[in-house]
Symmetry: C2
Subunit: 315 residues, 2 copies
């Protein structure tokens, strides 16, 4: 994927997305002893960066294919993002969701015009139902993270951040399925000035950390983490990019995640979801463990989303 | 107070405050059938607009008086704001707080370098102790809302909002002690183009509504409201301005306050305190009760602050 691919993608999706704010915090700068720039995708449409990749993937479909709609399986932000992206573009979205998905997420999908199909909460059942729908309706399956058009779309987040702050030394972002970090790494590679990209993961779902160690895609046996967006594993399209362009992955504990989330809510007055708090926690941790590396540097943090269930807060 | 007073005040305090963001929300625009501009003082230093008035009041003191420090009584945002403002300017802040004040507020004051004096939680005890400190230390007493320099400082919020969005038809802001709404009304008068200012109050503490009806300052017998910043009553310095320049006050129920707070948290992903939710609730209510008045108009909402105790949320 080239520099031009990224620029074209950004131009293509720009009418459908927000160029979200970049916020700063004196308090966090002081804690980290560096300048931190928060790219606020919690303010993105549908509450997360996923809107970018979803929109790009749909817009890239040939006219004929668009008519038949799109299908995906997701219990989280991508379900809402694909529904809203499809609605914005005038395309039907079929969304396979596990029957255990929270009511609030189903409501979100319906509000954005997505058609919900419920299935048993297993990877096999999800994929089987999605395949069946694709076969019946002719809808195109769009993967939430392991798809080149999705990766490019997610990369526009870091692209916009670097447009506003071209001299970032680091960009930190969370790692779930790998779409966001692969896109961010491409953007930093093409548009940064020696800008290193780091991933952030919970210890409880550190598959990407282990994948970078072993050189092949690893999975998680258990995923006991509050960061519900980071339970998925990398894919064969994004892993090669990550292996080549990402400088490392920082792991954090559940306690560090909750503390970072509370810090941002209390001090910055913005609502970030646990998956985004993972990234903030990673920066706070690195700045303590390796203060010299960060001192007086400029760090971008991608706040991936702000979709939380207010009735189930960890504090 | 003149147009020039407001401009001078803004210039004076600018190095010490943030010119906070103005946010918009498609969803809320749709609900209200108008364009709404949120002036985000929850992003202000110390988490509320109070920093503006506090800074102006301190900076206006003669050099000799600054040396002896300042004193106030407050259990809320003004205590933290005066402490931080004093610290920024290099002045001592003596803060009288009721011994019932939440620990988190005391921690905030201490963090900003304020010296805390505890007293019984009555208006008389507060004022008596503040007077005693003023006498002993020579510190100047600064009232949180009934002080011309404080009113001017708070007015810079609406001034900045009108600088960014000069064609607002309405500005809504909460009414507690009256400093913010008096300042906003002055700013709208001098810098707006026929911009009407409305106040928002809980039914449970509707002293300002009743004061505008009777023509004299009324008080509240009870204040059973979640909007802890709006329990105070107007003063003799701000009431004449309010009487002259404010178009009306909209009252909302406790349920409407909590619903509005939830809506903003969930959809705009920003943390606003109940006192700010009162204003949002008032706009939502007016747009339903008098849709024709708001249709296609431009409405500014002053989000007064974001200081909430995360362990005591109403949802």
């Amino acid at each position: 994927m080239t520099k031009q691919n990224l620029l074209d993608c950004h131009k293509r999706i720009a009418p459908f997305i927000h160029n979200t704010s970049v916020l700063t915090s004196r308090l966090i700068d002081k804690e980290v002893n560096a300048q931190v720039f928060f790219k606020c995708e919690n303010f993105q449409r549908a509450g997360a960066y996923k809107m970018r990749g979803a929109t790009n993937a749909i817009l890239r479909l040939p006219k004929e294919q668009k008519k038949n709609g799109v299908v995906t399986h997701s219990s989280g932000n991508f379900a809402q993002a694909l529904s809203l992206a499809a609605q914005s573009v005038g395309v039907t979205a079929h969304i396979v969701m596990p029957n255990t998905a929270p009511e609030v997420k189903k409501v979100g999908v319906k509000e954005y015009g997505g058609i919900i199909y419920e299935c048993e909460p297993t990877v096999e059942a999800r994929q089987a139902l999605a395949d069946e729908i694709a076969l019946k309706t002719g809808a195109t399956f769009i993967h939430p993270s392991n798809d080149n058009d999705v990766i490019l779309g997610q990369g526009t987040t870091a692209l916009e951040l670097l447009e506003k702050q071209p001299d970032l030394d680091f960009i930190f972002c969370p790692v779930g399925g790998g779409g966001l970090i692969a896109g961010s790494a491409l953007a930093a590679h093409y548009f940064g000035i020696n800008c290193k990209v780091y991933g952030a993961e919970p210890f409880e779902a550190d598959d990407a950390y282990r994948s970078l160690q072993s050189g092949k895609i690893e999975s998680n046996e258990t995923v006991n983490t509050i960061a519900d967006g980071l339970k998925t594993t990398l894919g064969d399209k994004n892993f090669p990019i990550i292996k080549k362009l990402v400088s490392g992955i920082v792991r954090v504990t559940e306690e560090e995640i909750v503390d970072a989330m509370k810090l941002v809510w209390e001090r910055m007055k913005i609502i970030i979801e646990p998956s985004s708090a993972v990234t903030v926690a990673a920066v706070l941790k690195q700045s303590k463990e390796q203060p010299a590396v960060f001192q007086n540097k400029k760090i971008g943090i991608i706040i991936s989303g702000g979709n939380v269930d207010l009735s189930k807060l960890p504090f």
